[in-house]
């Protein structure tokens, strides 16, 4: 269990984090969402120890996170970086060694990852000679090479081509399935919705909404959507505030949804009867404008 507890951080006059708390249980994929400058990167940097918090702490498995444990984490910073004048295979293996692998282990792991990413034939090339897309893949290999126990990824999907997005998504789910807590930030909310078990939304250095994806959606349920094959206009007859969306009836604030069902069934064949769930994108928009 990785817990980020009550982080505060000030840069000069700017209060970047104002009591941010966030946690990821083993096997849980947590999406970290927020507008630019909301404090995502600062939170992740503090969690990875590249930045010191003014107050607050990072707890891993019940104890304050230490350097040795942190080395077993996998991290991808939002600003990507590789040694331009180092060979691809050598570079990935080097990071494996930095994370504590033996030379042989690191080489084997680097070789496997490069193969998964279709980069085996570029292993001997300098990173600066690769295309940007391929450099992104190498970056991914660097963050996964040491078989990390915890993943903290800042915008891991930005700039990835579709194949790399799939590889990255699969890697996140694999790691989570193996019991690793995973936290990643993204502006691609459809990906968050697809991959995450829970979401934390940050705005102006504070967590403004957090919870399981399904739980959040249920909480923000909007209206009942009803499609009926009938020539009759049911607008006036259904209880509650009724509007039309194409041929569908949207029923809000209905005192009795069973009554709605009964009236609709009497009018004709029901092809759809369900509560509309908001997308994470809608929840996010609503949360930040609140």
């Amino acid at each position: 269990m990785l817990e980020i507890k009550d982080l505060h951080k000030r840069f000069g006059d700017t209060l970047a984090l104002d009591g941010v708390s966030l946690s990821a249980a083993p096997g849980e994929v947590v999406g970290f969402v927020g507008a630019n400058g909301a404090g995502k990167t600062t939170t992740m940097r503090i969690a990875m120890g590249v930045l010191a918090a003014d107050s607050g702490q990072i707890v891993y498995d019940g104890a304050p996170l230490g350097v040795e444990q942190r080395r077993r984490f996998g991290y991808m910073p939002s600003e990507r970086g590789l040694y331009p004048k180092m060979k691809t295979g050598e570079q990935v293996a080097y990071f494996g060694e930095l994370h504590g692998m033996s030379k042989t282990e690191a080489r084997r792991s680097a070789g496997e990852l490069l193969e998964q990413l279709n980069l085996t034939d570029r292993a001997g090339d300098f990173v600066q000679d690769l295309s940007l897309g391929n450099q992104q893949r190498v970056q991914l290999a660097v963050s996964l090479v040491h078989d990390p126990e915890v993943l903290i990824l800042d915008e891991p999907f930005s700039g990835l081509d579709p194949i790399a997005v799939d590889v990255m998504g699969a890697a996140l789910r694999d790691r989570a399935a193996a019991g690793a807590p995973v936290i990643f930030s993204s502006h691609q909310l459809d990906l968050i919705e697809r991959l995450c078990d829970s979401v934390s939304i940050i705005g102006n250095g504070k967590i403004i909404a957090a919870g399981g994806v399904e739980e959040l959606k249920a909480k923000e349920v909007k209206q009942l959507r009803v499609s009926v094959e009938t020539d009759e206009d049911l607008t006036g007859r259904l209880p509650g505030t009724v509007t039309r969306d194409g041929d569908d009836y949207l029923v809000e604030d209905s005192p009795d949804d069973q009554e709605v069902l009964r009236i609709a069934a009497a009018a004709g064949r029901i092809t759809r009867f369900a509560y509309d769930q908001p997308t994470i994108a809608e929840i996010f928009r609503e949360a930040v404008t609140r």
Binding site: R45, M48, G49, V50, L51, A52, V67, E68, R70, R71, R72, F73, Y75, M76, P77, E79, R80, G81, L82, Y83, P84, K85, M86, E90, Y94, F95, E97, L98, H99, G100, M101, S102, E105, V142, S143, D147, E149, A178
Partner: protein, 400 residues
């Protein structure tokens, strides 16, 4: 299961391992790079050629070919052999000796009280031949006066003058010469300038490519900076040793080694010691100031003070060669960072009192320790900062 395996795997990763991994990467990527290998080969070739030059121009191992004839020939040969530097041929008659000079078989000949040469001999050779002639003549005269060989030897044994230098502090009585001092200062300058620039470039490269953020999740700033300094230090040391080895090797092969002033080897060893301390000083500072900028183009501006003080140290050392006993020389060779180049240079050309060497070494080491602290603080505080160039005072005010 996985966690246990990981635990075991990560436990063996000590702090030193991180440091050595960083150093190893520098050595692999920079030391074994094509450009470094080529420049090393070229430098070694130049050193080899320079070392071989004296013998190429001096020819015949530098020994003067001298012909001897007449009754004093045997005594002259004993004297000349004792002096060394002569290849003596004894002829049966003065005529044959003269002919040998004509034929250029020998450069000069001494026979029947005359010195034959084609167009004169060098001053030094002349003085030596003259001295040998005097001694040989005295010996011959004494023998003809009826003295035994033992008596002659006794009469000719003269105690050499004992040198008493009143201004012994810093007097130019050192065993090595100007040329050695010059070589030491040039090599020290080169061996500091190049790696110092590489360290700063390396730091800026990691900053500008943003890789430093990933590195810092598994390494401490001191490991990252220290590893870089050690790595480039090893590369420079290998270059230095290769140069010295080739230089001495070629000298040995061409028979010039014995002609080098005594103490050359010890000077080479002590120079390496001075270099290590000076490198620690300049190297860590270079890393520290390198971290103040985010772009390679800006690294020149922050490095200027370091390069200036290196250049001044070098120029000071050159000046010192011409006035090794001056107060200026004494001060320069004691005050860091100038002492890094000045002291080994001064030691090569003059006798330096032990207390001055000790003081200079201690001060330089203290300065290096200070630089280590300052450099790593600067590095720690500014390495993650990106944007315009940071002032040193600003970096030190920041929290890490």
């Amino acid at each position: 299961m996985t966690a246990q395996r990981n635990q075991a795997r990560h436990d063996e990763t000590s702090r030193m391992r991180g440091l050595m991994l960083v150093a190893g990467r520098e050595i692999r990527v920079r030391g074994l790079s094509k450009s470094n290998v080529i420049s090393l080969i070229v430098t070694v070739l130049i050193v080899g050629v320079l070392a071989a030059l004296p013998s190429l121009f001096g020819g015949d191992d530098g020994d003067e070919k001298i012909g001897l004839a007449g009754p004093t020939a045997a005594a002259m040969q004993t004297q000349l052999d004792a002096m060394g530097g002569f290849d003596v041929t004894v002829f049966d008659s003065a005529g044959e000796a003269e002919q040998a000079v004509e034929d250029e078989t020998v450069e000069a000949a001494v026979a029947d009280g005359s010195l034959y040469s084609r167009d004169g001999v060098g001053n030094e050779t002349e003085a030596k031949i003259d001295a040998a002639w005097q001694a040989a003549s005295v010996q011959t005269n004494l023998a003809s006066a009826g003295l035994s060989d033992q008596e002659i030897a006794g009469a000719l044994t003269v105690q050499p003058l004992e040198w008493v230098t009143l201004e012994s502090e810093g007097g130019v009585t050192g065993p090595l010469d100007y040329f050695t001092g010059l070589i030491i200062s040039v090599i020290m300058f080169m061996m500091l300038m190049t790696p110092v620039q590489y360290i700063a470039m390396g730091v800026v490269e990691e900053k500008s490519s943003r890789i430093v953020e990933i590195l810092l999740t598994s390494l401490k700033p001191w490991q990252l900076l220290g590893g870089k300094v050690i790595g480039l230090g090893v590369i420079s040391l290998v270059n230095l040793i290769a140069m010295v080895a080739v230089g001495l090797g070629v000298s040995a092969a061409t028979g010039m080694l014995s002609d080098l002033p005594p103490g050359t080897a010890s000077a080479a060893v002590s120079t390496i010691g001075w270099w290590l301390i000076a490198f620690a000083l300049f190297g860590t500072l270079a890393g520290g100031v390198g971290s103040l900028v985010s772009r390679q183009e800006e690294s020149g501006s922050v490095l200027t003070p370091l390069i200036m003080s290196l250049t001044l140290s070098y120029l000071g050392a050159i000046f010192l060669l011409n006035a090794p006993t001056s107060t200026f020389a004494e001060v320069l060779s004691i005050v860091p960072p100038f002492s890094g180049i000045a002291m080994p240079t001064r030691m090569a050309i003059a006798d330096v009192p032990a207390w001055q060497i000790g003081l200079s070494g201690v001060l330089l080491a203290l300065a290096a320790a200070g630089a280590l602290a300052l450099g790593s603080q600067l590095y720690k505080r500014s390495v993650l900062y990106t944007g315009s160039r940071m002032k040193i005072s600003e970096a030190l005010r920041r929290s890490a």
